[in-house]
Symmetry: C2
Subunit: 379 residues, 2 copies
Amino acid sequence: MEFRVKCTDGNARCGMVRTAHGTFQTPAFMPVGTQGTVKTMTQRSLEEIGAEIILSNTYHLYLRPGIEILRQAGGLHKFMNWSHPILTDSGGYQVFSLSDLRKIEEEGVSFRSHLDGSLHLFTPEKVIDIQRHIGSDIMMVLDECTPYPCTKDYANSSNELTLRWAQRCKDRLTSSPELYGHAQTLFAIVQGSAFEDIREHSARVLTGMNFEGYAIGGLAVGEPADQMYAMIEVCNNILPATKPRYLMGVGTPENLLEAIERGVDMFDCVMPTRNGRNAQLFTRSGVVNITNERYKDDFTPVDEECDCYTCYNYTRAYLRHLFMVKEILGLQLATLHNLSYYQWVVRSARQAIRDRRYKDWKTGQLSRSKQENTLLSTN
Amino acid sequence: MEFRVKCTDGNARCGMVRTAHGTFQTPAFMPVGTQGTVKTMTQRSLEEIGAEIILSNTYHLYLRPGIEILRQAGGLHKFMNWSHPILTDSGGYQVFSLSDLRKIEEEGVSFRSHLDGSLHLFTPEKVIDIQRHIGSDIMMVLDECTPYPCTKDYANSSNELTLRWAQRCKDRLTSSPELYGHAQTLFAIVQGSAFEDIREHSARVLTGMNFEGYAIGGLAVGEPADQMYAMIEVCNNILPATKPRYLMGVGTPENLLEAIERGVDMFDCVMPTRNGRNAQLFTRSGVVNITNERYKDDFTPVDEECDCYTCYNYTRAYLRHLFMVKEILGLQLATLHNLSYYQWVVRSARQAIRDRRYKDWKTGQLSRSKQENTLLSTN
């Protein structure tokens, strides 16, 4: 993997990451394809909206279709017919959020499947092995994502475990073969909850281990946005400028803009897809709840300035109708638009950085996006 | 509207219908877009698979979004962004199958909405007025679709009412203006259950009224296939060869092939869309239930010979995975394939008629389509 920063504006950076499955530009937003599919999106639609990398999920793919099927298919790229970069998270987050009876020990985390209650053990070595079978271009280490809030003692000992697991993941990466003849790389994850000194320690130790990229995990889990931004600053002050920085599971368009300003390069979030399926549409002037009665005879596009298939071809009135009568096409068109919008956000951010006017552009866009009054749903 | 038979082979015909929104070739299969959307299909995907005309539904559109919204949109074509021909059924079938407390009188049929129980009256005049608001290229008369089986007395008196309603629809068509500046045409519906003489009488009286096209209704409602084919022959012996013949709500690929041989030009059916959403995929060698375990590591396309997006890009194993994990993309890809398959059936039938080898081709295709053993689900 190669990362090149081509341009900076303050702490904001514009660059590119080269992987075995091609290049993606940063700042990048990765649509979430948890189960080997970005919900409602065909792979050609993903290409069309300009998604250059997607995220998939070790925990879910391990349970279904299982690594044996993925191995026979020749990895996830071939299985799902996506020839561009894929990042997989390690499954740690899902183990902690979805499964019952998880038990964390030095060795790893044992858990029961949320599907059938079967017992499984994820060790740092095992999640690397699974990700070898998946064949993702960027793998993530196994970590514990601490709940918010948590005590400093808990955050500290949890983080120490995450650091030891990171080293074991790195060792396994080095000692295990590629299965499909293409290079895979590994990102570490900074934890430490909202404690500045633990975050600093975590970032320092992981940087010393020399990973190809670094994620900031354990944010957007309930803490105030200001605290999230402060933690990003703490981490990015230490994480090397020569490596990509990935803020996991974040967030709203506003979160992205603030994090980009603080030097973050990569994002993933279910918000554009999930909120889309719940009739919330992102526009340049704010969030639109398309089921609102006021749109029943609104024959304008969702977003006049958007160049996606949905906005070029359909009206708010038609989308509202689809949602009111519970037609699947509504979910498809809303998702397509929202993901297009998120791609527009990072594309525009990149251009603003290249133009050295990032802060002005951000301020203008944030003010503009408050024209619509709909409250953003975050779950 | 203009209908031209370009070629015949026995009773089978190959032709074209010109409407205000362009031409479609016959035999034609119309994907069903009940609520102003063919379930899971974008309008560009419909174009891509070669659908030249779609069907929508007066009853459903009348309830939602309602005719006032359709009028403001400039009709259904603009509302749903479909610039090609649209046929609307009259809503008679839905009134009889979906709604409660329907009461049939000379004036029309009163019923309660299946959505909110509100009371409505459909008269022949009213369904024409609604279809004027929809702006469909081909409208259907209000009829009563008799249940199967029914007594001859019932079939006879019901059919007489349907005939009187047909005349009233025609009168209303003549006396009511086009709302959107394009011509709309009206098809009559032959009823008569499985009674040959009633069918003959119905076909004769309607032919005498000189409609632009004739539908055969009240079939595929539970009667044996042989009886359906016999009734088609009875009707087509009388219906004028110079007008298109439309077999409503039919059917399996085999039903289509048999009906085409007997001189039918147009079809609609929910089977490719509904069965697709239920994991049943039509292939040249029969029906595949994609959730079957045997496909979990089958990395071949659904149908090797199919040129649809699904078959070009995805494997049976991937489609099975999507269905097993209940991902919407599975419904989309299955629907796209099934509708492509139905378009292939009518396209191939047209070619076989042009080549004057229809019967041979039909026999070969029917025998081939029995290689897969899955039982076709018909509900």
